[in-house]
Amino acid sequence: MRFVLRRLAFFVVTLWAAVTLNFLIPRLMPGNAALAMMSRYKGRIQPQAMHAIEIAFGINTHQSLVHAYFTYLGNIVRGHFGISLTFFPDAVSHQVLQALPWTLGLVGATTILAFLLGTFIGLVSAWRRGGFLDGALPPIFVITSAFPYFWLALLAIWLFSIKLGWLPESGGYDVQTTVAWSWAFVGDVVRHSILPAATILITSIGGWILTMRNNTISVLAEDYVRMARAKGLSPWRIMWTYAGRNAILPNLAGFAMSLGFVVSGAILVEFVFNYPGVGWMFLQSVENQDYALMQALFLLLTVAVLLAILVADGATAVLDPRTRDRS
C-alpha cells in the first residue's frame, strides 16, 4: 500500500512540474505568434488589422506572468486550451480530439501488438533456443528493425500500392467514401491502415523480441527454474509462470513509456502515409509558433507518459512481490 501511495505522490509532484515547465518553455522560445501570423498574410494586412488579430489571440496582452500562470492552470483544469493559430479560429481541444483517435487507433494498436507478439516470440525462442523458431525469427526481425523507417515505408508503398495496386498509399480513408459507422467505411479505414501498421510493426518488433529473449535466457539459468523442473512441472507452466513472469519485468517499464509516447503520434509514419494523426500536428505547432496547440500537445504527452508509468508501477507491484514487501 505504501508503495502505491509513494508512487502516487511522485506522480502528482512530477505532473505539477511538467505543467509548469509546459507553461514556461514556449514563453522562452524566440519569435512571436503575431509575426508568424503576419507572414501568412504576405504583408498585405494593415497594422490595425494585426492589432485586432493579436487581441483575438490574446497575444501582447500586458498580463503579469503570475496572473497568466494561474489563468493557465484554471484553463487546464477546465480543458480550455485556447484558439489554435494553425487552425484559426478553431479551438485547440477540438482539433486535438479530432486527430487523436487516428493516432491512438494506428500507433496504439500497433504498439500493443508489437509488444505482445515480440514478447511471445522472444519467450518461445528463448525456451527452445537453437530451435527452428529461434533460428529464423529473431535474426529476421532484428534486421528489419535496423531499416530506416521512411525507407521501408516508401518501399512498401512502391511495391504494394504502386506496382501491385493492392493497397491505398495514403490517407485515413478514401476521399469518396462517406464517413459513417458502416461496414464499408470501417473496411476502408482498416484497408488504409494495413500498410502503415505493418511497417511500424516490422520496424519495432525486433527490440521486444531481443530483450525478452535475452531476459528469459538469463532467468532460465536461475535456481528456481531448475527447482521447478526438478519438481516435474509441465514445461508450459514453467515457461509462463516461472520464466516469463520474471523475464517480462524489465520490459514493462519500457512498454509503459512507449504507450505513453503513443499520443505523440509517429511523425514519420503520418508524413509518409499522409495519415491524419497528431504527429505532424506537433511539427506544425512548432513551425507556426502556435503556443496554444503546442502546450496542449505537450501536456497530453506528459500526462500520458506519467500515467503509463504509474500503471506500469502498479503492474510491477502485482507481478513482483518483492516491491510490495520492501518497506
Partner: protein, 550 residues
C-alpha cells in the same frame, strides 16, 4: 537455407493476405469514381479545419471562388481583362475617385434568399468595422461606401484605378442575413458557407471536403460537373502519387522531374506553369557597400539566370529579366530594348567593378578602404528549389569576385528579417503580384511600402526611395488609359534597369497539372480564362465550373 525458406513462406503468406484485402477494395474505388467529379491534389501541409470564412487568409482559398463570389472577375493571365460578375456594370467618375457598381438582379444565395445591393453594402461595412477581415486593406484607400437602389458607390481618398482589382475582384461578397447576426466575425468559423457561387460545400471532414453543384446558380447551364473532392495532404509525395495514378485529376503541385514522373504515365496527363511574379535577390540599399549602384549592376551582369532556372528550378520557373516584367504572361508590357540591356556577361561585371575602383585580391574584390565584397544572403531553408538556386548564384558571383554566403532560415525568422530589413542580400519571391506588371513593380518600388530599418516594411524590403518613381506610381493610379499606363510602366522598367534595386532571377509560376481522360474544359496555354492553380482565389471556382465530362 532453412532460414531463407521460412522467410519466403512468411512473405508469401503476408502477400496473400494483403492481396485479399486489396482486390476487394479496388473495385469499390473504381465504381465510385463518377465521370462528373473532379478530385484536386494540392498539398497544403495541413488537414482541413472545416472553417470556410472567406475573410480568413488560411482558409479563404477553400470558399472564395466556388462558394463566394466577387463583383467583377479579373483575369490575371490576360493583363487584367475584366468580366462582370455579381456586378452587371461599373463606372469610374470624379477624376477616378468614385466607382459605381450596378448590382446584378436575379442572383440567389444558396439558401434560396435573394441577393441584392444590400449584401454588397453590408460586406464592405463589415470590413470597415472589422479591420481583421480586410485582407486586401480596402479601407486604406476607401473613404465611404453608399447605396441607392441597385447601385453601390465607392468613394476613394485619392485616384485609385489599381485598387479596382482589390475592391471588385479580390473581395468576396457575403450574405447580410447570415453575417449580420454574428457577434465576432473575426473568429467566426463559417462551417456551412452560404454563397452565390457555382458550388455548395456539402460535407467536410479533416481529410476531405466535398463540394456539390449549386443547381440554382445564376449563370445558366453552369457548372457542368456535379462534385469536387478536395482531399487534405500533409506532405508532397502522396499528393504527387495521386496525380500520377490519375486518382486526382487537377494538381497544383511541385513534381520533381515531371516528365518521367507524371507526363510519361499517361497521354492524358498534362501540365502548364504560367509565370506570375518574380523571385528576386533583394539588395539592402541601406548597406554602405551595396548602396553603390556599380556593385548591384555587376551582380546583375554576373548571374546566368537561365542556368539558375535549369539547375535550381528544373526549368519549371523560367529566367527573369532585369525590367521586372514577367514574360510571356505580361509580354505586351515589356520594353525589349531595356530588357536586353543587362544580360549574362561576367567580363562586363568585372570591368564595371574595376572602373568603379574596386581592387581584386585573393579572388575577391575589395573597396578602396579594404573591405571585401562579401555578403550574407538569407533564404528559406525549407524551399529546396530556392536553396539550390542560391548555390548556383553563389558560384557565378564567385567567378567574378563577389563572395556570398547563404543563410537558410525558418520561414518565420526569414519573414521577420525581411520586414525589418535585417539582411544584406535576400532571395525572396513572396510578393503577391497582381493582374498586371504594375502591381509587382509598385510592391517593389513604391516608397510608401517601405519603412526604416528595424520597422516592418510591407513589400519594398530593399528600402528603395526615388521621388520620381513614386510620382510615376501615383500617376498610374489616376488613369484608366491603357496607352498612358504602358508609358508609365516603361519608365518603371527603366528605373529597374538603371538603379538595380532588386535583381529578378526566375519567374514564380502557378503550379498546374490536369488530366483529360474524363474531363474537358481545362485552362490551357491557348485558352487561359483563369489562373489555373487550385489555390488561386477566386479563379479556381471559375475553372471548376467550366469543367465538363467527356
Amino acid at each position: 537455407m532453412k532460414r531463407a525458406l521460412v522467410f519466403a513462406v512468411l512473405v508469401g503468406v503476408g502477400a496473400t493476405v494483403w492481396a485479399g484485402f486489396g482486390t476487394a477494395g479496388d473495385k469499390t474505388v473504381r465504381s465510385a469514381s463518377a465521370k462528373t467529379a473532379v478530385t484536386i491534389s494540392n498539398e497544403q501541409g495541413t488537414t482541413w479545419t472545416c472553417g470556410f470564412s472567406p475573410f480568413n487568409g488560411d482558409v479563404n482559398s477553400l470558399s472564395f471562388g466556388p462558394v463566394y463570389e466577387e463583383l467583377v472577375f479579373v483575369n490575371g493571365l490576360k493583363s487584367g481583362a475584366a468580366t462582370k460578375w455579381l456586378a452587371s456594370g461599373y463606372k469610374w467618375s470624379n477624376g477616378n475617385k468614385t466607382l459605381v457598381f450596378t448590382i446584378r438582379s436575379g442572383v440567389k444565395w444558396s439558401d434560396g434568399k435573394p441577393f441584392s445591393a444590400d449584401d454588397v453594402l453590408f460586406t464592405y461595412k463589415l470590413l470597415k468595422a472589422n479591420p481583421g477581415l480586410d485582407l486586401n486593406a480596402d479601407w486604406a484607400v476607401l473613404k465611404s461606401v453608399s447605396k441607392s437602389g441597385n447601385k453601390v458607390t465607392f468613394n476613394f481618398k485619392t485616384s485609385a484605378v489599381p485598387y479596382f482589382y482589390y475592391i471588385a475582384a479580390q473581395t468576396p461578397i457575403v450574405a447580410k442575413h447570415i453575417w449580420s447576426s454574428i457577434k465576432n466575425p473575426v473568429t467566426y468559423k463559417d462551417t456551412h458557407p452560404v454563397g452565390t457561387g457555382p458550388f455548395k460545400m456539402s460535407s467536410c471532414s479533416p481529410q476531405v471536403i466535398k463540394y456539390s453543384k449549386n443547381s440554382g446558380y445564376w449563370q445558366k447551364g453552369l457548372p457542368h460537373i456535379d462534385t469536387i473532392y478536395y482531399p487534405a495532404f500533409t506532405s508532397n509525395d502522396p499528393a504527387n502519387q495521386q496525380l500520377a495514378s490519375g486518382k486526382a485529376q487537377w494538381g497544383s503541385q511541385f513534381i520533381p522531374n515531371i516528365k518521367a514522373y507524371y507526363s510519361s504515365k499517361s497521354s492524358d496527363n498534362h501540365y502548364w506553369f504560367p509565370p506570375l511574379v518574380n523571385v528576386n535577390i533583394f539588395i539592402n540599399l541601406k548597406n554602405p557597400i551595396l548602396s553603390n549602384v556599380a556593385v548591384r549592376r555587376a551582380m546583375a551582369y554576373a548571374i546566368d539566370r537561365g542556368k539558375v532556372s535549369r539547375i535550381g528550378e528544373y526549368g519549371y520557373e523560367p529566367p527573369s529579366n532585369q525590367t521586372g516584367i514577367v514574360t510571356p504572361t505580361f509580354s505586351s508590357w515589356l520594353d525589349k530594348g531595356l530588357a536586353s540591356k543587362i544580360t549574362y556577361n561576367p567580363s562586363k561585371a568585372i570591368s564595371i567593378l574595376q572602373k568603379a575602383g574596386f581592387k581584386k585580391s585573393s579572388g575577391v574584390f575589395h573597396t578602396k578602404d579594404g573591405k571585401p565584397l562579401s555578403f550574407r544572403i538569407i533564404n528559406i531553408g525549407g524551399y529546396s528549389d530556392w536553396v539550390a538556386s542560391v548555390q548556383v548564384i553563389q558560384q557565378q558571383l564567385k567567378a567574378v569576385g563577389i563572395k556570398i554566403t547563404p543563410e537558410n532560415l525558418s520561414s518565420t525568422t526569414f519573414d521577420s528579417d525581411a520586414y525589418n530589413g535585417k539582411f544584406e542580400l535576400m532571395y525572396n519571391g513572396n510578393e503577391s503580384g497582381g493582374p498586371a506588371p504594375y502591381y509587382e513593380l509598385r510592391q517593389l518600388l513604391y516608397s510608401k511600402n517601405s519603412a526604416p530599418i528595424g520597422k516592418a516594411a510591407s513589400s519594398n524590403w530593399e528600402r528603395y526611395y526615388n521621388p520620381a518613381v513614386d510620382k510615376l506610381i501615383e500617376q498610374y493610379g489616376a488613369t484608366t488609359d491603357s496607352a498612358k499606363q504602358h508609358a508609365i510602366v516603361t519608365k518603371l522598367e527603366a528605373a529597374m534597369v538603371n538603379d538595380v534595386p532588386v535583381i529578378p532571377i526566375t519567374e514564380g509560376v502557378d503550379w498546374y497539372q490536369y488530366n483529360t481522360r474524363n474531363l474537358t474544359g481545362w485552362v490551357t496555354q491557348s485558352n487561359p480564362y483563369a489562373k489555373p492553380a487550385a489555390y488561386e482565389i477566386p479563379d479556381w471556382g471559375v475553372l471548376a465550373m467550366h469543367l465538363k465530362a467527356k
